[in-house]
């Protein structure tokens, strides 16, 4: 079974949803998918791992202190070079060298997660914007593109499935609930800092769409069916900083981990994003066939005007719904939110290991004021309670969504299915589809 099962929460998206690759079929190559962050941290605490810990700390310290504003490609290169270097060191280090291939791969994953957890506020563009000193043109470009995508999504959010070549067979009552669930899975991308965890959110979101195809016996249609569904999902979604997130995964996920299926779905997401960025009213072929199109378009334009007016009046509210270029989230918002570190009691235990001298302590007073709960300072108990609360809330949300998606099934039955499959969205959807048939 999978490695996380009996460890309570592991503070990775799997725990609140599921493993992207596991559970899907029988011939699963389990070793390839072994992932256990806590097991990795345990090895890191072994004195024999000291050289690895030292190198990692020193890399982080240098990265943070050497220069204020690296460009995105400089960051990408520095971090990748460090990974190449340290991954090689693992093979000769006493604490790691005798581990199995799967455990070594897990250690590499662990290092990436640790490093990116520490450097997130320096590398994830939305975190940098408020700290003017350390933002540069390349990071600002991400934000401009986020805003452009958001505007395009608003402009075309009224499109129906028929406008995007979604086949009529799929246009039924279930479509919208599946799309909504998929969008929700994707939106979780902002809750995580590690490139892997963000990637899992993308995969989970795609998986819900395949659940829909399976439900309609359209699994064999491949990309012809999937691409329009993903674009439709994006148009109905509300994922702040999607482009920044996608680029962050591209830049900071170790290339050999971003292969195969992961690469496929990330590329498809990028393609879908580009498609939406290029949409314009004159190029939408549907204009002739949908007589109401112009009316719907202008009506939506009116609504957007109202929305933007409201945002100006009440920027706080709107930034959580749809971030606008004039309302950028504070960095602390993005640093505090992630479940992965805050929720990870083992990681907080390692505070001595990440002592304050090596940890990034942003000097901006605004940052300090707003971060009474910086994960550095959370004790283990608080972190555990916090994580449990978040997990519980998440589970309730999932349950409610599934109950909406399957109105014909007994709500208690749905709860049982959720509990049995540990609230993994993909597994739940699969079982419920079978029952509903």
């Amino acid at each position: 079974m999978d490695a996380d099962d009996d460890k309570g929460f592991n503070a990775s998206p799997e725990t609140i949803s599921e493993k992207p690759l596991a559970d899907v079929g029988e011939n699963l190559d389990e070793k390839n998918n072994y992932y256990d962050f806590q097991a990795f941290l345990k090895i890191m605490r072994d004195p024999k791992a000291d050289p690895i810990v030292k190198h990692t700390k020193s890399f982080i310290r240098n990265f943070v202190s050497q220069r204020e504003n690296w460009t995105t490609s400089e960051q990408e290169k520095l971090i990748n070079d460090f990974k190449v270097f340290i991954y090689d060191k693992l093979l000769t280090n006493e604490a790691f060298r005798d581990l199995s291939d799967a455990q070594i791969k897990n250690a590499k994953e662990g290092i990436e997660k640790l490093v990116m957890g520490k450097l997130y506020y320096k590398c994830f563009s939305p975190c940098l914007v408020n700290e003017k000193r350390s933002s540069d043109a390349t990071h600002e470009q991400d934000l401009l593109d986020d805003a452009k995508l958001r505007d395009k999504i608003l402009e075309f959010r009224f499109l129906g499935p028929e406008h995007l070549d979604i086949i009529p067979d799929l246009i039924n009552g279930k479509l919208h609930s599946f799309i909504a669930l998929s969008a929700k899975e994707l939106a979780k991308i902002n809750q995580y800092r590690s490139p892997r965890d963000k990637m899992v959110c993308v995969l989970n979101s795609c998986k819900v769409l395949f659940g829909l195809l399976k439900h309609n016996n359209k699994l064999n249609g491949g990309a012809d069916h999937f691409v329009p569904l993903l674009i439709f999902t994006l148009l109905k979604s509300d994922v702040p900083h999607l482009i920044s997130n996608v680029r962050y995964i591209e830049r900071f996920r170790f290339p050999s981990f971003l292969m195969g299926e992961n690469a496929y779905y990330l590329s498809t997401l990028q393609g879908a994003v580009n498609f939406i960025l290029d949409m314009d009213i004159d190029s939408i072929s549907i204009l002739e066939t949908d007589k109401d199109f112009n009316k719907k378009y202008s009506q939506n334009q009116e609504e957007i005007k109202d929305l933007k007016k409201q945002e100006l009046l009440n920027p706080k509210d709107s930034s959580t719904k749809f971030p606008h270029r004039t309302v950028s989230p504070s960095p602390s918002e993005y640093i505090l939110k992630p479940l992965d570190d805050a929720a990870n009691s083992v990681l907080t235990k390692l505070n001595d290991f990440w002592n304050t001298s090596t940890s990034p302590t942003p000097s901006s007073p605004e940052y300090e004021d707003r971060s009474p709960r910086d994960h550095q300072e959370i004790d283990e108990h608080t972190a555990t309670v916090l994580a449990q609360q978040m997990e519980h809330k998440e589970q309730e949300n999932t349950l409610q969504t599934l109950q909406l998606m399957f109105p014909d099934l007994d709500p208690d039955l749905i709860r049982d299915v959720c509990i049995a499959s540990k609230y993994r969205v993909g597994v739940c959807v699969d079982s419920l589809l079978e029952m509903a048939e």
């Binding site: 992207p20 690759l21 899907v24 079929g25 029988e26 011939n27 699963l28 190559d29 190198h55 020193s58 890399f59 240098n62 990265f63 050497q66 290169k77 520095l78 990748n80 070079d81 460090f82 190449v84 270097f85 340290i86 070549d165 995969l203 795609c206 998986k207 769409l209 395949f210 195809l213 699994l219 064999n220 249609g221 491949g222 990309a223 012809d224 999937f226 691409v227 329009p228 290339p255 050999s256 292969m259 195969g260 299926e261 496929y264 779905y265 590329s267 498809t268 990028q270 393609g271 879908a272 580009n274 498609f275 290029d278 072929s285």
Partner: protein
């Protein structure tokens, strides 16, 4: 394990998905992996003795065939090792479209190592049709030759020639990468990927 990225291109309904499903179904499934959905599939094949019985894995990237989603294609064919450009032998219009894909690949990917295979599908329907309503085989063959493409006619329905397409591509890939393959056979080197350029410079930011 050697992994190669193969992208599927061609008009809607020419049978891209059917070819891949046939390939996966007819292959020995010793190494079959589960995947999330049917847009990305991977399948392993074993080459003949002549090619050291080398085992290689194809990662097969499906693309949306609809005209309006053509603009997504570059996202799929970048870093590809091979492309299957498919047309339907019973649809004369589909060959010119396949040719356009070949031109685009030559222009945009511009990589001599990219292996392109032109595939005419639905061969099983040929006998039922008037030859005037069919794609001119000589035309396709000639185009393939001029452009240095592999060329096959297949039927996803009966399975005729389908495995051959992938064997043929696999053999080319093998010859192309023989040196790297030999190296990967040495101990401690069991996961070579030829898909992405790797950054291997020295560590610059760590002391």
């Amino acid at each position: 394990m050697l992994q190669f990225k193969l992208v599927l291109l061609g008009d809607s309904s020419v049978g891209k998905s059917s070819i891949v499903h046939r390939f996966v179904k007819d292959s020995f499934d010793e190494y079959r992996e589960s995947t999330i959905g049917a847009a990305f599939l991977s399948q392993t094949i074993k080459l003949s003795e002549e090619y050291d019985e080398q085992v290689l894995k194809f990662e097969i990237w499906d693309t949306a065939g609809q005209e309006r989603y053509k603009s997504l294609a570059p996202m799929y064919y970048r870093n590809a090792n091979a492309a299957l450009v498919v047309y339907d032998v019973t649809e004369p219009d589909s060959l010119p479209k396949a040719k356009l894909w070949v031109d685009e690949l030559k222009e945009k990917v511009n990589d001599d190592k990219l292996i392109i295979c032109l595939v005419g599908n639905k061969l099983d329907l040929v006998s039922e049709r008037e030859s005037t309503s069919l794609v001119d085989e000589a035309d396709a063959r000639e185009f393939a030759q001029e452009n240095n493409l592999l060329f096959h006619q297949v039927s996803a329905k009966t399975g005729e020639n389908v495995i051959k397409v992938f064997q043929d591509i696999g053999e080319r890939l093998y010859l192309q990468n023989k040196d790297k393959i030999q190296e990967s056979k040495k101990p401690n080197n069991n996961n070579i990927s030829l898909q992405r350029p790797s950054t291997n410079d020295s560590q610059s930011c760590c002391s």
